[in-house]
Each structure stands twice: as C-alpha cells, then as structure tokens.
C-alpha cells in the first residue's frame, strides 16, 4: 500500500509551509512598497549575513596588532585594503581588495553578553520589553511583501538555511511575516529545499502524495467552510505551485557557471551567498544567511583559520558578483552577529585560546544599496574593548537600512493589535549619515 508511505513529517512540512505566510503569487515582479515613505528608496533588497554566535571583531574588521598576543593571539598581522588607511584581518585578503565597496562600523555596542537578548536587539533594534518587535526582515517583508503586492516566485523573506527561531521572527506582526527557511544545504546536490525540492522523490511521487493528503483530509472535508482551513488549503495549493513551478529552478544552483560556484566556495556558506544573489536578482526583498559557527569559546584561532578564508572568498565574490550584475547599487549587504568576541584571549582551561561573548564593542559591515564604501565609522579603543568614538547601536544600523529602502523609521508600523508603534523610533540622531 503506497498510502502507508506518507509520513506525518511530510504532512507537517506542508502545513508549516502554509502557515509561513506563503500566499504565493504567480508572476515574477519587482517588489512594491506599502509603508511610510521617506526619501526615494536607494535599495530594493537586503542580504543579511548573520554571523551566528558573534564573530570576533579583532580578527575580522577591527584588528589591533599593537594590543599584543593577549588580544590578537597569532592573528597580529592585519593587511592593507584597496582603501588607503583601512586595514582588516590577515585572513581576509580577498575582502581586502573590495574595501571600496563596503563600510565598516567599528563602534557597534549594546552591552549585552547573552546570545538570546543580544540577537533580539541586533535583529529588531529594540531592547527587550513588554512587546516583541519584529526583526528587520519581517519589517521589510511587511512593507515590501504580499501586503504591498509583491509577486515574487518565492516568499519575500527567505532564510538560508536554518531559521534562528524566535529571534529572527515576526514578533507582534504575526505569523504571516515570518521567514521561509529553506533547510537543506546548497553545497549538496540536490539543494534540498524544505517543501520544494526533496531528495530522491520524483515529481510524480510528490503529486501522488498530494492526492493522498487530500484523500486523508477527513477533518477538512467535514468542515469545508472553516476560514482557517480555507486559508490553509489555499496555501497548500500555492506551495505545490512553488514546488513544481519556477521556484524549483530558482533553487537549482546547477544552473550557475561552475567556475563562479567555485569562486564562491563549494561549501554551505559560499553556495548560500550565491543563492542569495539569485534570490535578490529575482526581486526577493530580504534574504538572511544564517552563518553558524562563530560562537568560538574554545580553540578560537583554529576555527578562524578554517572559517575566515571560507567567509572571505564567499563574501568577496558576492560583492563582486552583485557589482558586475548591477545589483550592488540596490542591494544592501549587511554583515554582523549578535555581538563581537572578547578582545582578551582566554588562554587557560577550559577555553584554551577562546574568546567570550562581547557586546560592549563590536563591528558590523554594510555594503551596497546606496551605502558608500571605503569608510570606517566609529572607533574602538586600543584593545577593541570599548567604543572610543561614535557609538552605534543596532537601532541606528536598522534605521539606516530602512531609510535606504525608503521606509521612514519614524513612520507608523502597522500591526494586528493596532498599537501606535513606530517603525524604528529614536534612531534619527545616530543614522549612518556618513555613508548614506
């Protein structure tokens, strides 16, 4: 009996797809905008490279070679970039050649050392409080997504590959604005996208499953007029359209030039960067790449030696690729994590050369979408332990991104509870005007 092969997991997958806000359109289109407008929009899309766990600012974009071994470890020879006066970490030689395309904020701060709270602050711009605010991706999805007539072939807010959970979600905006997380690994063949591309399952078999699901849907049949079920049925139908429609092609990285794929790096992060470029090329307004592995409490420098070259190649190629396709002008690339890492290396057991969480001072990087490159904003002290000049809080970065996208940070944030909320209030004084 083939019927027995339909797993609960598959049914759940479809259910989740439906609840993830996939009211799927039928046509390709550029994103529209439905929000409080500000100056003309310079950016249409955001690629957020989320350095999950918190990257070490001293080993990436804020090197401190004079601070000595206790702070730099073996990474004490920063390299010059193609912009006079800007040096970055020695394991980022490819990015050093593109410093004119991005700006570095070396004075990020929020003072929080715990992942959860720091992630919430850096993703939403708000301090924790009574209300749960949406992250930047959900806000962009709100203003550029289906409410604004977005007709992209995939949902307007995509996460590659694993969702962060409650810290990258829609908060008080509601389920509809949550991201669609692809799952899978683009470096593998095929790139198994949750609910879209399944390994070892033919299209025919997938369709037969759909028929079976309908046959088993006794609850739905007994409540045909229930509005929630109607919405669910519609979403399932659209999800199937995505599965067998052009979205499947969009996620097929085999269609890319093999040499370009290699330049990005045949690893998860590299291929995610390539995937992100394909998505913004098709008009997806917000793509987050959740790049794991930066919570380097132990054996930090060994991990840096492995991961930074991978990040360097992928991110440099992404900037180059976006630029060559004319996409960088209207695509913001935002690099950063929930915090930086402790400037002072923890040499003793159990850390054995690790770096702790550090929210007092860390770095972020912004490129494209109207942000000028080749600039350093703010300054940290001699050891990267304190902000010395021009403190920048997450809300300033997020408000600046919104502004570049044409969303007025002081405008109203529509919400289901009809609360009187602003998009990103109290951030005007810290907007990154130096690079806008």
């Amino acid at each position: 009996m083939k019927q027995s092969r339909v797993s609960r997991r598959d049914a759940l997958k479809l259910g989740l797809t439906a609840t993830a806000g996939l009211s799927l359109p039928k046509l390709f289109a550029q994103p529209a905008f439905a929000g409080p407008k500000t100056t003309p929009a310079k950016a249409k899309s955001v690629i957020q490279i989320w350095m999950w766990g918190g990257p070490a600012h001293l080993d990436t974009f804020d090197p401190k070679p004079a601070a000595g071994r206790d702070f730099c470890g073996p990474l004490d020879k920063p390299i010059a970039t193609n912009v006079d006066g800007i040096q970055i970490g020695q394991l980022l030689p490819k990015l050093a050649k593109h410093a004119d395309k991005y700006s570095i904020i070396r004075s990020m701060t929020h003072g929080v050392q715990a992942h959860e709270t720091a992630s919430y602050i850096t993703q939403t711009g708000h301090a924790p409080g009574r209300l749960v605010y949406p992250c930047a991706g959900a806000v962009v999805s709100k203003f550029f997504g289906v409410d604004a007539g977005y007709k992209g072939i995939v949902p307007p807010y995509i996460v590659l590959n694993q969702p962060q959970g409650r810290f990258s979600e829609a908060g008080l905006l509601g389920e509809k604005y949550k991201p669609f997380a692809t799952g899978g690994d683009p470096a593998k063949k095929p790139f198994v996208v949750e609910g879209i591309v399944a390994k070892g399952i033919s299209d025919k078999r997938q369709l037969s499953r759909r028929g079976l699901l309908g046959a088993l849907d006794l609850f739905g049949k007994s409540n045909p007029d229930h509005p929630l079920l109607k919405q669910h049925d519609g979403s399932v139908a659209e999800a199937y359209e995505m599965i067998f429609g052009p979205a499947k092609e969009l996620f097929d990285l085999e269609k890319e030039d093999a040499k370009l794929r290699e330049r990005y790096g045949m690893n998860t992060f590299g291929q995610n960067c390539l995937m992100a470029r394909r998505l913004v090329e098709k008009g997806v307004p917000y793509v987050t790449i959740n790049y794991k592995g930066w919570d380097t409490h132990k054996g930090h420098f060994g991990i840096m030696n492995q991961k930074l070259p991978e990040m360097d190649a992928a991110m440099a190629t992404l900037l180059e690729d976006l630029k060559s396709r004319g996409l960088l002008e209207n695509t913001i690339v935002w690099w950063g994590g929930e915090f930086g890492r402790g400037p002072k290396v923890q040499w003793k057991a159990p850390w054995n050369g690790g770096r702790s969480h550090f929210g007092h001072c860390f770095s972020s990087v912004l490129a494209g979408g109207g942000f000028k490159g080749g600039t350093v904003i703010g300054e940290s002290d001699a050891t990267g332990s304190e902000v010395k000049d021009r403190p920048v809080h997450p809300k300033h970065v997020i408000a600046s991104i919104y502004t570049q996208m044409g969303i007025d940070p002081e405008g109203r944030l529509p919400n289901p509870r009809n609360l009187d909320l602003k998009v990103m209030p109290d951030a005007q004084d810290g907007l990154l005007k130096e690079i806008m």
């Binding site: 000595g68 071994r69 054996g299 159990p350």
Partner: protein, 778 residues
C-alpha cells in the same frame, strides 16, 4: 653575587613560565571510605608535568601511577593495538572453547607491536585489564570504539591520570581539597571526599539499553551475568556520560525510611562550558515491576537531590540517576548514598551571640539526636559550619554575631515589640505567614534590616517591608545581590539566587515603626536571622587565586574582593603571612576607599622555605568611629558558570608553592615620586632603575601593563641596561586618584619547530614586577 643571581633567575624562569600549571577537571571516584585504598582516574590538562598530589587535612595520601595522553590523538595502528588488547583480554575470560565457537572475524587478532615503546598507546581504562570482567571489558570497548559514541572532546579534561589514594582508618570524614603539583605550578583544588560508609564504584553498563548494546561484544551463546542487588547502606561512585542513565538494584523492607542523597554539584559546583553550569542530577526509584515510586530533582533550593523514600513493601527496587536533560561528560561525577541513614536537613535557630552558650534544634530524617551545641567563640568568620556527629549526612550553617539576640518563641505569625539593635532568630512556618517586629524610632535615624537565611542554608526567599505607625510603607526590599558585573560575591559561592533581603532607610519622624518579613514564594517552613540595627559599617574580604607559585624573592599577583556592608566605604589595608608566620610583602597594600576589587602583588621573603605552605591574608580598616577592624580574607576561586556568570567560590586554604626556581625580579627603584601622579590626557614618563646594570638588557625582554586602570596605556617602552624608560598615556577621561600599575615581564624569542623546520616566534611570560602605586601625591 646577588646581581648574577638575578640574571640567572631570568634565564631559568624560561622553562617555568613557558609551561602551564596542571589543571584538574574531575576525579572519579570522587571519594573513598576511610581505611581503604582506591584507584582513581583524574581528568585534566597539562598533566604531563605532574609530580604529585596534595590533599588537604590529615590522613589521606596519594601517588601518581601513570599519566595518559588524550585518546583521540591515537593513530590507526595504536587504535588497533587497543582493540586487539581488549579482545585478547575478553578471549582469556571466555576460554578457548567458547572462542572456537565464534565466527573467525569476531575473534581477537594479533596485537600490533611497536618499534619504539613510546609509540605504544595507553589508557587509564586498560590498567590491570586482566582483572576486569566481561561487563567492564564490554563497556570499555563500547566507549572507545562504538561509532555512536557521543562524547564531546573537551581539551580541559582530555588528559587522564591514574592515581592511588589511601585514607587512613582515622582520617577525618568530609570534603578535602586535592591539588595537582607540577613542575611549573600547581592546580586549583578539586573536591575529594572521605566517607564512613562502604563504597562501590559503578560498573558500566548499568542501563538496559546499554546492556543490549553491550551484548554485541559477546558471542551470541553468552549472556551477561546479572549483578546481585546492592546491600544497604552503600555509597555509589558514578559518572554520567552522554545519554547515560545509571541504574542500581537494591532490596528494602516495608516501612524503611530510606534516604537517597546525591552529591554532584557539591563536588564540582560550576562548569564554565555547560548550560546549566553543573551536572544537574535527578533520581528516580522504580519498584520491581518497573513502576516509578519516587522521584527527586533537588533538595530545597539546592540542585543536588535528597530523596526520602518510605518503602511501601518488601522487595527489590531500582534507583536511576541521570542528568535532567540527558547530558553527560567525564566530569559529571557523583556520589550517591542509599540507606536508612540519619540526614540533617535544617537547624533552628540559625545562629547565636558571640561568646554565649548556645545550642540548636536539629531536623532531618532518621535522626537519633535533636540538639547540638554551637561554637560561638568570637573572632572567627561569622558564618560557621555545624559539624554533626560522624555518620550524619548533610551540613548546616549558622551565624555568630556580637549584637543582642532574641529567638521567636511562637510557631506562627510573630508580632513583637523589640529594642534595637537586635538580631531576631525567627521562622516563617506556614505559607503566607508574615512576622512583624515593632520598634521606636527617631526622625533621621538610619536603620538597617538584614536577613540571613539562604546564606545559612534556609530556603526562605525573604522580602522586607518597613512601615510607619499608620501602616504606610516606607521601604521595601527583596533579593539583595552582592554582584559586580558578572561576578557574584555571595558568601557561600554556591547560591545562584541571592534571595536574602537587605533594607536601609532613614526614618522620617519620631514614632513607632515595624519591620515585616515574609516569604516571597509563600512556601513557609523556613528559618531566618533578621538584624535590625543602626548601620554597622563592616566588610568581608575575599582573595584569589588560591594557587600561587613563586620562587623565594619572587613576585605574584593577588586580587582582593571587598564586600562592603552598611555603608562602609573606607580603605582596607592588606597584610599577609606565610603558614610559618613569616611576613609577606604586599607592594601596594591599601585597597582604595570605595573600591570593591583590587589587584596587587606580593613578594615572597628571600628565605622562604621551599615547598607547599599556606598564605593568610587579612584586611584592616578604620571605621567611622575610629575603631580599627580586622577581617581575615576568605580564600576563593573565581569560577565561571555557564559561559557568563562568575562566582567567588570559597576554598579551605590559599595554598602557596614556594618553588625551587622561577622569575625573581631585582630590587627596582622608581625614579619618579610615589605615588605616580597620572593626569587625564597627559603622558607620564616613568623610569625604573634596577639594581643590576644589565637587568633589562636581555634580548627580547618586554614590559607590558597587566590589567591597567581604565584609560591608561603603555605608549612606549625602552629597555636598556639597568633602566626601563616607559611612557604611560592617560586618556582624557582618566579620573583615578588611587590604584597601581603592574608590569608583566615577557620575553620574545625564536625557536625552530621540529616538524616543519621553520622558526617560530614565541612569547614567554616570565612574571611580574612589584606593583607601583598611583594616586594623588601628599
């Protein structure tokens, strides 16, 4: 001659500082019955230089049998050696007859040989392999070779050491501090216990699932023998590895009042790299049908379970212990006591006045005595441990103070009029109960109300309210955190919820006031000690680390933490003595007024006797009334919990190793006037002149500031002959008027790497120069 001595010391220091002091992560078993000898495995890091063990107290000795490198570093041939050795041991037990029945591929193969003996791999588990039974061999095999091994590599406990420990028949029972002595220093303490009961060590596998896995290691015709139920009372030493659940069978009779006491967090209070930051043990008791009959996951507010179990019927029972979220690693060790044993759970009252004759009521399970006398001798630490009679499990704490005291007589809400100053020994007996104490106050009078409950082991989560005669609330207090940044300075070092309340207020007018005390959690059944008094400015002092190594004449760093009470803000002067009574020089001995943390240096006497000794530090301050107050510093380790929070964990002693060799700086003269007058936004030229003309001449020698005050950096340094010319730069917002500068001495040199043949630059930490005071000149 002395000058040569310095240079010589500088060179000799090389090997000293280049290598790490050993680190001990755990010991299994974590204790021993007195009168016995046991083999224990100690996991840690940098063990290769370990020369011996130091165990506090009398009657316990230990010797190192062998040190093993991390298993994961073995190559394929070495792994094959281990496997075949293990299979050969198994086949010896099975006998040729059984082995012949096994398929060819399941039989032991040839044990690989090694050209060089140093290539031969060793594991602690293989020690005396021939004495192990099939069950033990099976478990060793599974642990090492099973592809489903979920053991995470943890470098800080990856090296192991086999030690033999002997406890004399008259060894005092209780916790001991075990330290690893190395060539280059010694470790922080790990806890090892001496007990009175018969002890057994768990033999894996002791879960059903693991036994099924284990069966794969045996020929199909053989089955594991079923172990006999344990005879009670017994103490089981165990270790929980990932997903591990240890089960032990025992027989019991109906009506027995069994107690199952687990010590897990008590052994290793904090793990820096785990969440939760300790082994969170839970215990469950099953009857012979597998039905759960009792469960426990804590003991009041303490994480270690204490389960009291009234046996419902005669029969066989099984107790299971595991981590609450099924974690596991080598340092998840426990000691579980099972039996119809006396356990002390709490006492009342929680303290007494210094110098008085006092006793307390004892409460617990299976106790045959209900009273115990307190030691109220003045002059010791105010928080003291009640030493119950031998054989009684559990520890209680009490407080000794100099103020007058009363003890709440009634069980139930108290409403008493009192005269200040006073300490009230009371209890919240029932949920929602509130005790109130009335007193006459004057306008402008400062009063303090302080609760001591959690700090003495009581579960009370107190709240305090101060009301005036009309019932209007004037002040309220809940949890009082003794914390600076992420560092908790709670006196026990173990309470992560500092629930005791502290209230201070200025009374608005003459009249009758009341202090109310209640339980924020509405639980009741909890004692307290409530002080209501004018402010009594005082301080407690903690000092860390508790493992200092220096050569005679050498310099070491100590950090003092001051817990200031009742508005005490004055300076505290430190002094220190060796165990022999010899004075130790502290370079900048005064903790500036208002400072909570202060790091400075000590310099050992040149004639200090080599070997292990204690260091006693004390602080002296002058109170507002001009009275000189002295407090002995409590040695404490700065331990991290779950990646973030830190705790000052008191230890029995601050141990000092007077090493044979090490960095000994020469006498150094500061050419500028002391204390150094550093000013905001300015550079300060500092010149150090050593007594030896080539003191700073050594190639690659560097000076760097150790934990400089905020806003202070070393802008430039020039080391030349006997002089060190240093430029200290102060930021615009530098504002300190007291403190010190400590210079770390390092040496940078090139060394050829054997494997690559390339030269690599190394930086070697030699030691420290004595601290130099900064501040306002007189």
């Amino acid at each position: 001659m002395r000058q040569f001595y310095f240079i010589l010391m500088m060179l000799l220091a090389g090997s000293h500082a280049f290598c790490q002091a050993p680190h001990g992560g755990y010991i299994f078993p974590a204790g021993i019955q007195r009168g016995q000898t046991c083999l224990a495995v100690l996991g840690g890091q940098a063990l290769r230089g370990v020369t011996g063990l130091h165990i506090s107290g009398k009657g316990v000795s230990a010797r190192v049998i062998k040190i093993y490198r991390p298993y994961r570093n073995f190559n394929a041939v070495q792994r094959s050696y281990l496997k075949q050795t293990l299979l050969n041991a198994r086949d010896k037990i099975l006998g040729p007859e059984n082995v012949a029945k096994m398929p060819e591929k399941a039989r032991a193969g040839e044990i690989p040989t090694f050209e060089e003996e140093k290539e031969r791999p060793h594991l602690a588990a293989f020690y005396q392999l021939g004495t192990k039974n099939l069950r033990e061999l099976g478990h060793i095999g599974l642990t090492i070779f099973a592809d489903r091994s979920r053991l995470q590599p943890n470098r800080q406990i990856a090296e192991t050491m086999l030690v033999e420990i002997t406890a004399a028949a008259d060894a005092e029972p209780g916790p001991r501090e075990l330290r690893l002595l190395g060539k280059w220093g010694f470790s922080k303490p790990i806890q090892f216990q001496v007990g009175l009961l018969r002890e057994v060590n768990e033999t894996e596998p002791n879960t059903r699932a693991a036994q099924e896995q284990h069966a794969r290691f045996l020929p199909p015709q053989l089955k594991l023998e079923k172990e006999a139920p344990l005879a009670l009372p017994v103490l089981i030493n165990g270790q929980i590895l990932p997903g591990d659940m240890d089960r032990f069978r025992f027989t019991a009779k109906a009506g027995q009042n069994l107690v199952i006491q687990v010590q897990a967090r008590a052994l290793i209070p904090y793990l820096a790299d785990a969440v939760p930051g300790w082994f969170q043990a839970v215990v469950t008791v099953f009857d012979s049908k597998g039905k759960e009959v009792a469960f426990c996951d804590d003991n009041r507010f303490r994480p270690d379970p204490l389960l009291q179990f009234k046996v419902p019927e005669d029969g066989e029972y099984e107790v299971e212990i595991r981590d609450s979220i099924y974690r596991g690693r080598e340092d998840f060790v426990y000691r579980m006591t099972i039996g119809e044993l006396p356990v002390l759970t709490d006492i009342f009252p929680l303290g007494a006045r210094a110098g008085s004759e006092a006793s307390v009521q004892l409460r617990g399970h299976n106790l045959t005595t209900t009273k115990a006398a307190l030691n109220t001798a003045p002059g010791l630490q105010s928080r003291r441990t009640l030493t119950a009679a031998n054989g009684i499990l559990g520890t209680c704490f009490y407080d000794v103070d100099t103020l007058p005291e009363i003890t709440e007589a009634a069980v139930g809400p108290a409403k008493e009029t009192v005269t200040l100053p006073l300490i009230i020994n009371g209890r919240i007996s029932h949920p929602n109960e509130m005790d109130a104490f009335f007193f006459e106050g004057k306008a402008g009078q400062q009063i303090v109300a302080e609760v001591k409950a959690r700090v003495l082991g009581s579960p009370l989560d107190s709240i305090l309210r101060l009301r005036d005669s009309s019932g209007k609330r004037i002040a309220f207090a809940d949890d009082h955190m003794e914390k600076v940044g992420h560092l908790h300075k709670e006196e026990t070092g173990l309470n992560t919820h500092q629930a005791d309340s502290y209230l201070t207020a200025s009374l608005p007018e003459d009249g009758r006031y009341s202090i109310e005390i209640a339980d924020a959690q509405n639980q009741g059944n909890a004692a307290y000690r409530l002080r209501i008094s004018p402010p009594q400015p005082r301080f407690k002092l903690f000092v860390s680390p508790t493992n200092i190594t220096a050569a005679p004449g050498g310099v070491a760093i100590i950090t003092a933490h001051v817990q200031r009470k009742d508005g005490f803000a004055g300076a505290v002067k430190l002094s220190a003595k060796l165990g022999s009574g010899k004075d130790v020089l502290i370079s900048c001995p005064a903790i500036p007024a208002g400072w909570d943390e202060f790091t400075t240096t000590i310099r050992l006497p040149r004639d200090a006797t080599r070997g292990m000794t204690t260091l006693q530090v004390q602080g002296t301050a002058t109170g507002q009334d001009g009275q000189v107050v002295t407090a002995a510093a409590i040695p404490a380790e700065d331990r991290m919990q779950a990646f973030l929070w830190r705790h000052l964990l008191p230890t029995e002693t601050l141990m000092l190793h007077v090493a044979k060799r090490g960095f000994v700086p020469p006498p150094i003269k500061v050419k500028q006037k002391l204390p150094l007058a550093l000013k905001a936004g300015e550079a300060f030229d500092l010149t150090l002149e050593a007594s030896h003309k080539r003191a700073f001449a050594q190639e690659g020698l560097n000076l760097a500031l150790h934990h400089p005050p905020e806003g202070v950096t070393l802008a430039a340094s020039k080391l030349d002959g006997k002089f060190a010319q240093l430029q200290i730069q102060c930021s615009e917002d530098f504002s300190l008027t007291a403190g010190n500068l400590i210079f770390k001495v390092t040496r940078t040199f090139k060394r050829k790497i054997k494997q690559t043949g390339k030269e690599k630059l190394f930086t070697q930490q030699l030691g420290y120069l004595p601290a130099i005071p900064i501040g306002q000149q007189q």
